[in-house]
């Protein structure tokens, strides 16, 4: 297929802060599982948990 675009799935992790309820999207890293405590919130220093892990298709 000369004109078909190459599709790549990129995995993302969405972290949710339990304190300020803000979301932060980052690349998925191996070992990430849903509902796990992830990192410190960049806005309020609260604890974030993984709310979602999903893939988005990138066409190039």
């Amino acid at each position: 297929m000369i004109f078909s675009k190459e599709k790549t799935t990129l995995a993302y992790t969405i972290e949710k802060c339990s304190k300020c309820e803000k979301f932060h999207k980052r690349d998925f890293s191996e070992g990430d599982i849903l509902f796990a405590i992830s990192s410190k919130c960049t806005f309020c220093n609260g604890i974030t948990t993984i709310d979602k892990i999903f893939g988005e298709i990138l066409e190039r």
Binding site: T9, A11, Y12, I14, F28, E30, G31, D32, I33, L34, F35, A36, K52, I53, F54, G55, E56
Partner: protein, 372 residues
Amino acid sequence: MLNFTDFEQMFSMGDDGDTLMMLVWIIPIIIFVFYGQQIQLLVTSGEIKKAIKKLDKFRSDSKKELIDYVKKNLDPIDDPTKKIEQFLDYFTIMPVDMDPNGIMDKVRHTVRSREDYTRNHVKSLSSNMSEIELTRVQTLIEIASSLQMIHKIVNHMFLTAKKQKNYPLILPLQMMLPFIMEHAKAMDASIPAFKTGQPLGDGIGPMVVGKMMLDKEKEIISFQTALAKIDYEQRKLFLVKAEGPGSTVGRPDDALQKIVTSTKIDAIIMIDAALKMEGEDSASVARGFGAAIGGIGTEKFQIEQIAIENKIPVFSIVVKQSVKEAITLMTKEIADQADNVRSQVYEMILENTLEGQSVVIIGVGNTSGVPQ
């Protein structure tokens, strides 16, 4: 200047042209009468050969990925290649169904025996294998084994038709091939998600119930199946899902059986992924009646049997998706529906039960990357 008489002759306007044109038309007709099937076979076999080449690539890639995964992550005792190749060649003979009486128990026994066998032998590959790694390897073996079987069957059908020079024999294969390829491509694309323990589209049920179970006391009610009991609006909820974050679907039927023997249940709500029809939107949510659970059918049978014996209504909520979406990394659209499905579950509980009643909520599907 154009000479129109040349065209007239060419298109059989003249006497000589008549004979020539007659030959031009008659020869192909004769060829098609006697060799039509072989010509059709030749054209079709080109497409099928390409598909078989792709299937062969899927087969060898999945095997390679599996062996690499075991070598890299599990520190095997010795070279696992030979043992893994043996697993891939294992077949399952389904019980005879001429007398359907008791067929469900027979099928369940055969399938579970195979699962137990694979689990025990995968364990022997490495001395330091966690339960999560074990479930991942088991799933990767299932994928590689299925891709090997698909390649074998398609190749067999093609070679038989070719050997017999029998065109009609190749027609069912030609018709089924796009569907077979869709499944094979989906299985091939699912390997990275299983290797890295990412949640799949099929994991929407466990994702919804898993969140409801968070921070609650949990117990293992049946093999690889977790249970949590919570109270909601003066109702008792029994939350059931496969034990995550390993790659397993658990045994929700056995779990339900155990719950029903100790408590009077007034409703069952099942949350699962369902295959969408062509034209339907992906990640659309639908509610309905009956047991929403896929697989070989034994679990569905058992759940229906329990529901009938105890006169329990079974409600279901499904999230529509394609085959590929169901077994590859969860899409954003599906993940975004989790909160909506959860609120629909609570709504369904209030609509269909009274205060003081008990409800079993089952999150059906593969729980890879989804703990509780």
